[in-house]
């Protein structure tokens, strides 16, 4: 009994530790990015890795989600005789919710896990120590470009997702079920207002930062967790942890932002 309380206590402290470290990491990354010399190439390179790795997945899942939405909304709206609202429904669902959330989750799986693995391996093979001993700040060289790239890439990927998802809905509604193309398009355009776009954008910016931060933190600080002493297997479990944690983080943040930005 006492043991389980001890374990719980240790777990809570560990979570607080990790949260603290990750927050510090964010602050250090911002600080380092603002120091001269200003290097844009590493950020662009990371954006390419994150974007290129995830693009195909984003496009496929975007079209599919759009089609599923089209399907389900059509089904529901048909019962109330309001299929002309299909465009609005799909558009609002994608831009406010599914676009940012699904994109973030895809990026977690593809780019996030590979960032954790990369940094974890660098840590356990002393590459991070080597950087430190060369007087090169790992925050500036490794972490900051990834975090900035994440914050910039995810909104861009979200826009791609939104675009193909809206087309997916169009395909199902108009081409499969014969909804009037005009009504779909007008429904889309009428329903979307600035607050909706703003919500989607804010979500994708925050998700981008959150996902990359967690991925970086789990890999970079692997030596401070139990996984750090287990070599290659440790990297594997750190990667899984990062994916689970980021996914939960995205879903939770999604609710919070939605509630706060009424």
């Amino acid at each position: 009994m006492i043991k389980s309380i001890e374990n719980l206590g240790a777990w809570v402290l560990d979570v607080l530790d990790q949260t603290g470290r990750t927050s510090l990491m964010l602050l250090e990354a911002i600080w380092e990015i603002l120091q001269p010399p200003y290097r844009f190439y590493p950020i662009v390179r990371q954006m390419y890795f994150i974007g290129a790795r995830s693009l195909t997945l984003i496009i496929f899942s975007g079209i599919t989600i759009g089609m599923v939405l089209g399907l389900q909304f059509y089904n529901i709206l048909q019962r109330f005789g309001s299929v002309d609202l299909l465009g609005s429904g799909v558009a609002l669902g994608v831009i406010r919710e599914l676009g940012p959330v699904m994109t973030a989750l895809m990026v977690v799986g593809r780019a996030g896990s590979s960032i954790t693995a990369e940094l974890g391996i660098m840590r356990i093979t002393e590459q991070v120590d080597a950087l430190e001993c060369m007087a090169v700040s790992p925050d500036k060289f490794l972490i900051a470009p990834k975090v900035v790239a994440g914050i910039l890439s995810v909104p861009l990927l979200t826009m791609v997702f939104d675009f193909v998802a809206l087309y997916g809905g169009y395909f199902v509604g108009v081409i499969m079920f014969g909804v009037a193309p005009g009504s779909y398009m007008n429904g889309m355009i009428d329903a979307i207002e600035m607050p909706d776009v703003r919500l989607g954008l804010v979500k994708s910016l925050i998700f981008g930062g959150l996902v990359t931060l967690i991925a970086c933190s789990r890999g970079f600080y692997i030596h401070l967790t139990r996984a750090g002493s287990q070599g290659a297997e440790g990297v594997s479990s750190a990667t899984t942890d990062a994916v689970v944690l980021s996914s939960i983080g995205v879903l939770f943040a999604d609710f919070l932002i939605g509630a706060l930005m009424k």
Binding site: Q127, D129, A130, C133
Partner: protein
């Protein structure tokens, strides 16, 4: 380090605790300028911890480490970075950056800390690669290198900025005897031709006596003894003699007991 100080590194009363465990017990050590100092001891004796403290990778619980005019034990991050621009470190596994070629690895310090022209950097990289006999490997990725090649590339990276202080963590580990001997020779040449102060942490006896000007023996977090190779060989300390002689294991005395140990039988 002042003009009249003959030591590159001065360590005083260094204590390192990992929670309740004391890893280093009030270590005192002087590392002389322009010489090769070998820090030897068994695995787990504390020599890696000592090295990490000297490099500023681990903050000790108390004590001081004076290196190139700064007390590493109490210095700020910026001060430690300033000192590190004048040192080179060759890690045990090489620690080459996996996403860059050998040449890009070696050039990294130059690209980060200087404004030298690309052409100059290229020539400097090639000079160092030639010194370690790795010129053909210039554009290879670290994953394509053998163990010996990795160590040499790591050495080239460590000396690219002509550091005053060079550190080796287990330089011969994983190498066959002839490659290890070549590396030993390179270490000696670097001391002689470039006047570097070199610190080698190792447990390989053959290398130790070939390259060392001074030896420090570490055992269970203490420095047992320091001295020249001759002095250490002549030491009367039983622990040191044990380390040096690698006594063969004693013959089995109780056959019965041994049989039981092996079979888990009764």
């Amino acid at each position: 380090m002042t003009p009249d100080n003959p030591n590159a590194i001065t360590i005083r009363d260094l204590v390192v605790d990992y929670g309740p465990r004391r890893i280093l017990h009030s270590v005192n050590l002087d590392i002389p300028l322009g010489q090769i100092m070998v820090i030897m001891g068994q695995s787990g004796a504390g020599k890696s911890t000592l090295l990490r403290c000297i490099l500023g990778l681990k903050k000790p619980s108390s004590g001081s480490i004076h290196m190139l005019g700064t007390d590493i034990a109490t210095a700020t991050r910026k001060e430690i970075y300033d000192v590190r621009k004048h040192i080179g470190v060759a890690f045990q596994g090489g620690a080459l950056f996996s996403s860059m070629t050998v040449a890009e690895n070696i050039q990294l310090p130059l690209r980060e800390h200087t404004n030298l022209d690309d052409k100059t950097i290229e020539i400097m990289t090639r000079i160092k690669l030639d010194m370690v006999d790795m010129l053909p490997a210039e554009h290879l990725m670290p994953a394509e290198l053998s163990g010996g090649m990795t160590k040499r590339a790591a050495l080239a990276r460590a000396i690219i900025m002509d550091p005053k202080l060079l550190f080796f963590d287990e330089p011969s580990s994983g190498l066959d005897p002839s490659t290890a001997a070549e590396l030993d020779q390179l270490i000696i040449t670097l001391k002689n031709s470039m006047g570097m102060t070199i610190v080698v942490v190792t447990h390989e006896l053959d290398s130790i006596f070939k390259i060392a000007d001074h030896i420090a023996v570490v055992h269970q977090g203490n420095i047992l003894e320091t001295g020249t190779p001759q002095q250490i060989t002549a030491s009367t300390n039983p622990e040191i003699q044990g380390l040096l002689n690698r006594k063969p294991r004693e013959n089995i005395v109780d056959a019965d007991a041994h049989l039981r140990r092996l079979t888990g039988g009764f």
